[in-house]
């Protein structure tokens, strides 16, 4: 029974990382696609929005990884062996982004170093979700070859393929989209609101294009993605709901709604993650030889799962209310000295 609690938490951690961490990465992606004239203004809005919560946004990745290595060690070690290179690149992105964001807000002197921090922040905000997407895509692409004899097939082709890379760009576009939708509600001037709406539209188109590329790549690489998504009622419903909510969301944006659209964007992410995980559940890694690694069959010892499940349940009693209060408290930005200096 506890295995389902643990799997539920894993799924939730991935979803929350996609939504909250994604919006966080997206803020950097938006900055990348902002003209120099508007950059500093965008940066300020973005920083005020994510400053208090950015550390917490990235904790979901830690929770997911701990669940994997405690509860599903074979899955964790297979991925970390065969996806060593993209994981290392992603880690470099995480280091660069986390430190650059902190350095640029806490450097006591404001000078040309800010340009360095900004560059690092912007590029790493792009690279990290790109490789997160590549890793996620590789897990289900069926290119991980545990019997490979040579370096290229074992450690390069496992992730360096059209499908995985397309998923990487799709992830980047989703992050940018989430950030733009989130930031619409954080703006104080109309010109800025309009700018973020344009960004949201641009990112939405980018996500659709990248999503199309994912499907083309899946056909090219013989991955039954079409069947995973449209071959079952849940997948069809999820895609339909996501599409309807997207239309509703754009209607509401045109009506000047600022907050409810966040819920709809979050709902769309939930539907996307649902469609992509539902059909091959409980298998989360598909291997080249046709085998797979299943969350059920490859779970750790019963007592380990039990302990993990209890730790997660108890932990969430502390984390969720505290996190909720943190997000709620900083919704209103009109009082307090925001950055502290």
């Amino acid at each position: 029974m506890m295995i389902y609690v643990v799997m539920g938490f894993l799924w939730m951690a991935l979803l929350l990382y996609l939504v909250m961490g994604g919006a966080d990465f997206g803020a950097g992606i938006i900055e990348m696609f902002t003209s120099d004239a508007n950059k500093s203004r965008t940066r300020k809005t973005m920083y005020n929005a994510i400053g208090p919560i950015w550390e917490a946004n990235h904790m979901w990745l830690i929770i997911a990884i701990v669940i994997l290595f405690v509860g599903f060690p074979v899955i964790y070690t297979t991925m970390s062996t065969y996806l060593h290179i993209p994981l290392t690149i992603m880690l470099m992105g995480i280091i660069a982004r986390g430190t650059a964001l902190t350095f640029r807000s806490y450097d006591a002197v404001t000078d040309n170093m800010q340009l360095v921090y900004n560059k690092i922040f912007v590029y790493s905000s792009f690279i990290t979700p790109l490789f997160l997407g590549i890793i996620a895509g590789s897990a289900v692409s069926g290119r991980i070859d545990t019997e490979a004899a040579d370096f290229l097939s074992a450690y390069i082709y496992s992730w360096f393929n059209l499908f995985s890379i397309a998923i990487g760009f799709f992830t980047v576009a989703l992050c940018g989209f989430l950030a733009a939708i989130y930031l619409i509600g954080e703006t104080t001037e109309e010109s800025e609101t309009k700018r973020f709406i344009r960004k949201a539209r641009f990112m939405n188109i980018a996500a659709v294009v990248a999503g199309g590329l994912v499907f083309i790549a899946s056909v090219e690489e013989n991955i039954p993605l079409v069947q995973w998504v449209f071959g079952n009622i849940i997948g069809v419903l999820a895609v339909s709901f996501a599409s309807i909510s997207l239309i509703v969301m754009w209607y509401l944006i045109s009506k000047g709604k600022r907050y409810i659209i966040r819920v709809l964007a979050g709902f769309q992410m939930t539907m996307i993650l649902l469609t992509t995980t539902y059909k091959h559940y409980p298998n989360i890694v598909i291997l080249k030889n046709g085998g797979y690694l299943s969350l059920i069959e490859n779970r750790g010892a019963d007592k380990a799962i039990e302990g993990l499940g209890i730790a997660l349940l108890v932990g969430s009693l502390f984390i969720l209310p505290a996190l909720g209060y943190l997000v709620y408290s900083f919704q209103r930005k009109d009082k307090g000295d925001v950055v502290g200096h």
């Binding site: 701990v66 290595f69 986390g98 993990l308 996190l323 502290g340």
Partner: protein, 442 residues
């Protein structure tokens, strides 16, 4: 570079880097909480300045510690997949709980850093305390996981299969308490002395003396008390090592020969080939007493341990000597501080007194690194003491050398960046934090 050595070097580098940031990240919130408390109680704005200045430092250290910690949770699998495949479910309990503690810390830090003037002042203060408490809990849990590698329990190994897994028993393994205690006290001592040293330098240079004196005294008292208590926790740790890891103890002491009245060997150059130590001071019976509370009982020497199961003696011995020596120096300085506090207040502004503290700035962290060298190198050739060898755990992926060079470059750059940022924080104290310019009044 040999793949195995590269993997070990990368792990050592990542841990060595992370330890500094996590120590500061878990201890400095307590300094902040004290000065914040003083501000709320006395309404003296200077304490608020100290608190705010420190909180910037904490934010920088926490962020760096958080990302390097995230990296470590992946590196366990990237570098030691065979280890994690078997050990993950057994010693995972403290990591599961640590995830929560770390999360709470990140949330509390958000409240604390951005909460000035937003919340009830005592709620705001309390969130700062939570940052410290959850950071400390994280530290204890992670060290408990490491202690399991030194004293593995909570499973049975039958025909190469790990069965009867009991994660709670594994978490409360015999070494968890002694190791966690030793590490926490070390973190307070190291951070206390490091922070005090930086402020002592500014006092000596007559910059914002009032501001820096307040900061100095809060940091120093934490460091001093910890440094004086540390030998006690060291003794508890040594007894545990003697019981569980005789090879590690023998290497720490460069203790080659098993004999009654085993001597405590201080300093010296271990000569592994001829099984002796040159130029050392020997105190007969002392090692027996420290390990077994009795001067006569022999302590197992390296002569009774197969060569294949022996850790590198020289590195372990030197690291241990360094750690103890530095610990003693800090304790002595601690006693001087207490004398100054009780009887000789005038010492606080004396040049020799401040110079000693400035000189002591890095000592605690060198001791922490040395101590981890003892723990980790002293456990070799095992990754799980007596159960799995480190070389059997390493990743099959070739070319880890390149990964090691990459991580070295990144961590080196980050270290420079953090020092640069701290330098700028301190340089800007008169402009940003101590605007009342009371320094001239002193």
């Amino acid at each position: 570079m040999d793949n195995f050595m590269a993997a070990r070097s990368q792990m050592a580098l990542s841990l060595g880097f992370h330890i500094i940031f996590s120590c500061i990240g878990m201890v400095m919130p307590f300094f902040m909480a004290v000065s914040h408390f003083m501000y709320l109680k006395t309404n003296n704005i200077n304490y608020q300045h100290v608190t705010k200045a420190w909180s910037k430092g904490v934010a920088i250290f926490f962020a760096t510690g958080a990302v390097s910690g995230t990296v470590l949770s992946f590196e366990l699998g990237l570098l030691w997949p065979t280890f994690m495949k078997h050990a993950g479910p057994i010693f995972g309990m403290p990591f599961s709980l640590e995830g929560t503690a770390f999360f709470i810390e990140a949330i509390a830090l958000g409240f604390f850093l951005y909460g000035w003037g937003r919340f009830n002042k005592w709620f705001h203060w309390f969130t700062g305390v939570i940052v410290g408490v959850s950071g400390l809990a994280s530290g204890i849990l992670v060290v408990a996981a490491n202690a399991w590698m030194n004293s593995p329990t909570g499973f049975k190994l039958v025909d190469g299969k790990y069965t009867d897994i009991d994660p709670i028993k594994a978490m409360f393994n015999p070494a968890w308490f002694s190791q966690a205690l030793h590490m926490c006290v070390a973190a307070f001592a190291a951070t206390g002395f490091a922070v005090a040293g930086v402020h002592a330098l500014m006092i000596l240079r007559k910059r914002n003396v009032g501001f820096h004196m307040r900061s100095f005294r809060i940091a120093a008292i934490f460091g001093v008390v910890a440094a004086i208590l540390q030998p006690l926790s060291g003794d508890i740790s040594a007894k545990m090592v003697a019981k569980r890891q005789p090879a590690k103890l023998a290497a720490m002491e460069a203790h080659f020969k098993t004999e009654p009245y085993s001597p405590l060997i201080i300093g010296g150059i271990p000569d592994v080939k001829n099984q002796k130590v040159d130029y050392a001071i020997e105190i007969p019976g002392m090692l027996s007493f420290m390990a077994h509370d009795d001067f006569k009982t022999p302590v197992k020497g390296l002569d009774q341990i197969p060569l294949a199961d022996q850790p590198p003696v020289a590195v372990t011995h030197y690291a241990f000597q360094f750690m103890v020596g530095l610990g003693m120096a800090m304790m002595a300085l601690g006693v001087i501080y207490l004398i100054a506090l009780a009887k000789k207040k005038s010492w606080f502004t004396k040049q020799w007194f401040l110079t000693l503290f400035i000189a002591a700035t890095p000592l605690g962290f060198i001791a922490v690194e040395a101590g981890w060298t003892v723990t980790e190198v002293g456990r070799q050739p095992w990754i799980i003491q007596g159960v799995m060898r480190t070389k059997d755990a390493v990743t099959p992926m070739p070319g880890i050398g390149y990964s090691f060079y990459l991580f070295t470059a990144v961590y080196f750059t980050l270290s420079i960046a953090v020092i640069f940022l701290l330098y700028r924080q301190i340089k800007m104290v008169p402009v940003l934090y101590d605007t009342t310019a009371e320094s001239s009044a002193h």
